[in-house]
Amino acid sequence: MVMGLAAGTGCASSDGSSQLTVFAAASLVEPFSVIEESFEAAHPGVDVVMVHAGSADLAAQIIEGAPADVFAAADEAQMAVIGEHAAAPPAVFATNTLTIVVPRGNPAAVGSIESLGDPSVVSVVCAPQVPCGASSARLAALAGVALVPSSEETSVTGVLSKVAEGHADAGLVYVTDVARRTGVEAVATEHADEVVNAYPIAALTGSDQPDLSAGFVDYVLTTGQEALDAYGFGTVQR
């Protein structure tokens, strides 16, 4: 919050340089840092400031008037939360799917999503109230498995760290999360490609540089796709 406030104060300054504040979901840190660099290289004088946090936090801050130019959310529900603060209809710029994650070496020999319905396997998933949990519930329903988690985490990061540190035998996270974390591996997951999570992006009405904001959104939807692909996100055809 403090970062966002401090970052948003210096927009078009007297020396012709300008600052673009992008609120982006925590799962986008790596691809967006690549996009930040290449966008700045393509737009001399523009300083892109990335503020990463959970989409719900970011959406709440935008509603409370945080000075952001662009919002990239991890799911469409959180984008819907900001409603009229979006300057144009949000566009989907990336997709993500779920996978079973296990500690490296797979100590509990988890072979399929059936294992997450086995009480002898310590599993953790996201709570149904958060986006990754809603997707997990859909996936379990498709696979016909009743999940018996030891914990329903409030974020995908919580699931990932409990698996990575070996406190849980298995969990459900996004494909891109597995690549970001050492000490874990993915297990092939049936029906995962049927539960697709879409990431929407929109320029915000609060921006006092609407052209630059719209330009950044456009950039993510075109040139930026390569960086998203490199980090395991599903890309969109334009």
Binding site: G54, A56, A60, V122, V124, A127, Q129, V130, P149, S150, S151, E152, E153, T154, G158, S161, K162, E165, G166, H167
Partner: protein, 261 residues
């Protein structure tokens, strides 16, 4: 008992301090959707979480009294050059970000932890259980008790105790008949602070104990989760938590206030 005189210049600062705390609380109260409050606060998930919070915080507070009071005494009466270092160590949970506290508990009591690995081998699992919630709460709340007792014991001379000893009282009798009554305000302060801290505990619980309805999902965890889906519900539950905490504090502090007046 005479009350200390307060210089007039302190008054605006005291008012500012009060406002700093009261303003955010008042702002929160204004956001509450009062028409939905009874329904939100009495939902099964909220009642589950509140019940779990009260039970775990009560046990954690009892542990803080049982363990923190002796440690406070030990620190106050111990004469050693290592004392500042030991005190700093004991107070570390006050400074540690709670999430790091949770990680530390996992490193100690988790399945692959220092102690936890042996417990796991013996078939005892702490992580993801209600016991883990109590451990996390005790870990973060204990310093309040230790600090309250240590400073109160240090501030007292051993005069009355020495007198009791000359009259033939044993150390334990002196403790119960002389020291504990004299320390009563500090014990109450420590207990209230420890309970409040345990009740509000969030980060260490989430990291160490996880979040499962009825087992490890205390009210602060339920509030955090609700906020993702329904901010109004989160604010309503937070109001419940504040009311419970304020009620407990008011009840516990009452006897001391009466004595002082």
């Amino acid at each position: 008992m005479t009350v200390a005189m307060m210089p007039r210049w302190m008054m605006p600062l005291a008012v500012a301090a009060g406002a700093l705390v009261a303003l955010p609380l008042a702002a929160t109260a204004l956001r509450i959707d009062w028409s939905r409050l009874p329904e939100l606060a009495a939902s099964p998930s909220a009642l589950d979480a509140l019940g779990l919070s009260l039970r775990t915080a009560a046990v954690a507070t009892a542990l803080c009294v049982a363990l923190g009071v002796p440690l406070g005494f030990a620190l106050a009466t111990w004469r050693s050059r290592a004392k500042p270092a030991v005190r700093a160590l004991v107070l570390a949970p006050l400074v540690l970000p709670p999430v790091v506290g949770g990680l530390a508990l996992l490193y100690a009591f988790g399945r692959r932890g220092l102690v936890g690995a042996s417990l796991h081998a013996a078939g005892v699992e702490l992580a993801f259980t209600t016991v883990a919630v109590v451990l996390a709460q005790t870990f973060v709340a204990l310093p309040f008790m230790v600090l309250a007792v240590e400073s109160a014991v240090s501030a007292r001379g051993g005069h009355h105790e020495a007198l009791a000893a000359t009259l033939g009282a044993s150390r334990s009798v002196t403790l119960w008949r002389v020291t504990v009554p004299a320390l009563r305000p500090a014990l109450i302060t420590g207990t209230v602070l420890a309970f409040a801290r345990a009740l509000g505990e969030f980060g260490a619980t989430l990291t160490f104990a996880g979040s499962l309805p009825g087992v490890t999902r205390t009210l602060p965890l339920e509030i955090y989760l609700q906020r993702e889906a329904d901010a109004d519900a989160a604010v309503a539950l937070a109001a419940v938590l504040v009311v419970v905490a304020v009620t407990v504090v008011a009840l516990a502090y009452r006897p001391v206030v009466r004595r002082a007046s």
